[in-house]
Symmetry: C3
Subunit: 332 residues, 3 copies
Amino acid sequence: MKHFLDLADFSREELLSLLELARRLEKQPEPRALAGKILGLLFFNPSLRTLASFQAAMARLGGNSFVINPGHGSWVLETRRGAVMDGAAAEHVREAIPALASYCDALGIRVFAEGRDLASDLAETAFNAMAELTEKPLINLESALNHPCQALADWKTMDDLAVPRAGRFVLSWAWHPRALPLAVPAAAVHMAALRGMEVIVLRPEGFALPEPVMERARRAAAHSGGTLRETSDRDEALAGADILYVKEWGATACYGDTAADAKLRSTLAGWCVRNDWFARTKAECRVMHCLPVRRNTAIADEVLDGARSVVQREAANRLTVQTAVLHQLLKS
Amino acid sequence: MKHFLDLADFSREELLSLLELARRLEKQPEPRALAGKILGLLFFNPSLRTLASFQAAMARLGGNSFVINPGHGSWVLETRRGAVMDGAAAEHVREAIPALASYCDALGIRVFAEGRDLASDLAETAFNAMAELTEKPLINLESALNHPCQALADWKTMDDLAVPRAGRFVLSWAWHPRALPLAVPAAAVHMAALRGMEVIVLRPEGFALPEPVMERARRAAAHSGGTLRETSDRDEALAGADILYVKEWGATACYGDTAADAKLRSTLAGWCVRNDWFARTKAECRVMHCLPVRRNTAIADEVLDGARSVVQREAANRLTVQTAVLHQLLKS
Amino acid sequence: MKHFLDLADFSREELLSLLELARRLEKQPEPRALAGKILGLLFFNPSLRTLASFQAAMARLGGNSFVINPGHGSWVLETRRGAVMDGAAAEHVREAIPALASYCDALGIRVFAEGRDLASDLAETAFNAMAELTEKPLINLESALNHPCQALADWKTMDDLAVPRAGRFVLSWAWHPRALPLAVPAAAVHMAALRGMEVIVLRPEGFALPEPVMERARRAAAHSGGTLRETSDRDEALAGADILYVKEWGATACYGDTAADAKLRSTLAGWCVRNDWFARTKAECRVMHCLPVRRNTAIADEVLDGARSVVQREAANRLTVQTAVLHQLLKS
């Protein structure tokens, strides 16, 4: 494995083998596997799980890490090619990335969507502007439209819980005070399709996932024997569901238009997941969420504190799958 | 030892044994005792000594650590139960604490008093809302009304300096531009009482320590052969003192009322410790302070730069006692 | 080696030997040389390379480090002697430095020039106020008028590239939206003079380096067989140059006067290094810059992305020379 940027870069078999390695390292830790190795972590956006679990994963394998937060103790960084830098940014990623890469054995980068131009975000403009600047093993810590570490942790979580491969996986939109990026919904539907599930995207009008995201998941489904469709009919979508995967995201019908997005979501506060959402699901239907989640706006306390919620297992699996990823990338 | 939350959770003998371990590890370091172990450090408030010394202590024992600062590179966290999260907080501690705990072998948490409602702060509402969320060994890095790491370091400092067990320990209020929490004064009087000292709380009218804090220290004194009283008479309090322990805190007569507190303290700028405070103390009377301290408002340069000041030894002892705490919590 | 504060503290031979050690450790790493050792890093100002490369250097040698950023998760620190601390600073360096020093085996400090009073900055008032407070090995991570780690990395970079010892080294001023400190230009001319080069300072009127900086470099040149002069004639300076070392700095003719500085630089936007600057240099003339650099204001894309630029090698050499410095300071 040279990089870990996108689950789509790997065959289904390679991913199953990575999940197998994660399970093996849970049982048989290798505390010196990465002795002397260094992971650089570059965060353009806030983090809790990714920040802590990557440092922990390196430590569990005997390695080290450092963290850079542009604008917080480190220089504000410019990502645009050709910029005349007379503004806030003191440094360009064209200098910063090679420098950081020279200090470490692998580099992780988090850069969220700008949320202004959908085509630019779909093209992963900011992430790719950095990825091309180093030959070192690179890890996507969440980019505009992807979050492969979360997706792999979610896959393992469903395996841990023996969720049927062909089970019904409902990705549901939920309410949030403002537009959030599409990275997790895009990664989640792709992962579930790749796992071979019956994937349904449940979202209000105006919040359909972009066609390239759907098309990509459709191809994964075709390859793995899964299916993919979308709806705004909650009752129909949730009937017989094995998994309700909840996520907040911005209106795609007016991407980048904050006022239009706010107006669209102003009537949707009812999209807060409560116990009554599970009237028609399978009895054992689980609730998943990548976290962070806002309680009682996206998901009610009664659900998060109930037996259906497996969000803690998802969070814990971030460490286990990332340990496997680092082992594959860096073990000599 | 399962947790390190409060000196009151331990018998006097257990604490003496912990101090003995601290001294032993000073002389005979164990550089691999915690190899492979990880300490998570969660800071809701600023830190210098705690932040540096816990990382150093883990490193001295061969372990690792990671640091999370909500709101600074990590999500703003909500602590209140049942909150409808449509404000600044992106995540609730009910998700964040179990996630962080799953990445480490022990977790340290710092969360200062809110300073609005005394009953809520006395009940350690915020800290306890987090403590109940994990089974992992937990360390109090300073909560609303406690700072056990500081208290233990102060105890060791007095032992190092051969301060008599039954010596006179005067906790004196000092001036500060605004109200500060009660954690250190509460922990200091309890510790000194537990050590068996003659404890006197010297404070202006309006700044009496809350009765539950006094009662708790009184019980510790009764158990250890010490005594506890309070006064606003500086000359009387300091006569024959072995230790002058200086600390700034907010008015308890108008807790949470910023304007009333400011008015009360506006006439108290004379409570800045100067050399003339030591006219009637024992000749060798020492000055202690947990730090950070504001020079020439709480304590004058002439005192901090003089021979009486042992604040550096207190700071250095943070590392030594915390090394012992971590050894007890995490050594297999 | 007791401290690493200034290249002027060492003989030319000692520096050559340090560079030799850096080359040896590149080829033959010593992954356990500093096992159990701790480096404290105190940053009053932003950093990317220094922050990452010092942590990486300690990790490469088997040691550990911690980072403190006053005002960002840690207390705002006062550096002035005798201050009555009723403002933003919660702690004085007279307490903070000894405390941090007691937690580590060596301490690195970054504190930029205040930029108000040239005499005070030339006297390294802030850095020296801290340096005198500890006996622990101390590293200058960039002070008001010095940056020895950068200077040593630059020296090694020229050695790596076989730049002739007696080659022409042109330090050129470049445009920046506001006044920047003199640390790097001062360190660069001193280093190049010490290496024995023909050093020319090329700068607009009003931006001459302070006489003490020039005098110090002149002495180094005299000792090493180099020369030093200054000019504002670009064509003359660059004729036959081996190295164009680019740096932005504030007007010294009106040091600390922001408005006068802004007026002076308002006509100097042409001081952006472009390919046409190399018409009369040696064919193989290299461009150096300490980074961070603003693209298309100080140096154009065409230069930074071209073959002349060795800024990445300079950045990478930060790690290699600092590994040698730490090895010398801390290896038992």
